[in-house]
Symmetry: C2
Subunit: 134 residues, 2 copies
């Protein structure tokens, strides 16, 4: 099938605030993380949060702003002993659109600031969406 | 927390090919769908598919190109009998960044064309990412 150059604009709806300062100390996935921190959602999106409650699991989409976008094969988990595979068969942050999807437990909500557990992304990572987990 | 106007570019990596022609006939979620169809990935992203096999469950991110982006509260499932809630506490396609996340079963792979089951999006929907399910 032919290529195309269709491009689309994403809007940042908030930022992560936590104490993960480098990729080296970031957990490899939300399922391996008990790190807590905050989703600081910009106030103009506050109405969109209505209905989210402590104790729920939410699906959060991040823009992994420090990831390469022009690499299609990686060593899974960044371990060179793992044979290279296509990025779409992994959870690597490296991919054409560096979007991360994490399932996080909501611990507390204060206005548009959500305290969550399970973070596997860096401090200041842009947040682009939140959904209820099925 | 203050707003910002940070915007980011997403690249389309492929398109859906199926027989869902209208939102009215689209399943409400992948968990309610047994609809099959194809993920037609553009050939330049083919290397990224290496490692995906029939029988696996993949997480696919779509750009829901026909969804409103300026609505923050909805009646869940489009049913006016359901009280309005913030879009981030639902799975509504309506949201600031209209990205859908579906878990699909891979039925067959032929070059960069993946036959999948569980589709809940329209024919021709842009595909923006694929990940392995945790």
């Amino acid at each position: 099938m032919a290529s195309e150059i269709d491009k689309l604009l994403v809007t940042v709806i908030g930022r992560v605030s936590n104490d993960i300062r480098s990729l080296a100390e970031a957990p490899k996935g939300y399922d391996e993380s008990d790190r807590t921190g905050y989703l600081e959602i910009f106030t103009e999106y506050g109405d969109g949060l209505e209905g989210i409650e402590a104790g729920q699991t939410i699906v959060v989409l991040f823009w992994l702003h420090e990831s390469s976008r022009d690499i299609l094969k990686v060593h899974p988990r960044g371990n060179k002993e793992n044979p290279m595979r296509g990025v779409f068969s992994t959870r690597s942050p490296v991919r054409p659109n560096p979007i991360g999807v994490s399932e996080l437990e909501v611990l507390n909500i204060e206005d548009t600031r959500l305290q969550v557990r399970g973070l596997d992304v860096l401090d200041n990572t842009p947040i682009i969406d939140i959904k209820m987990k099925i």
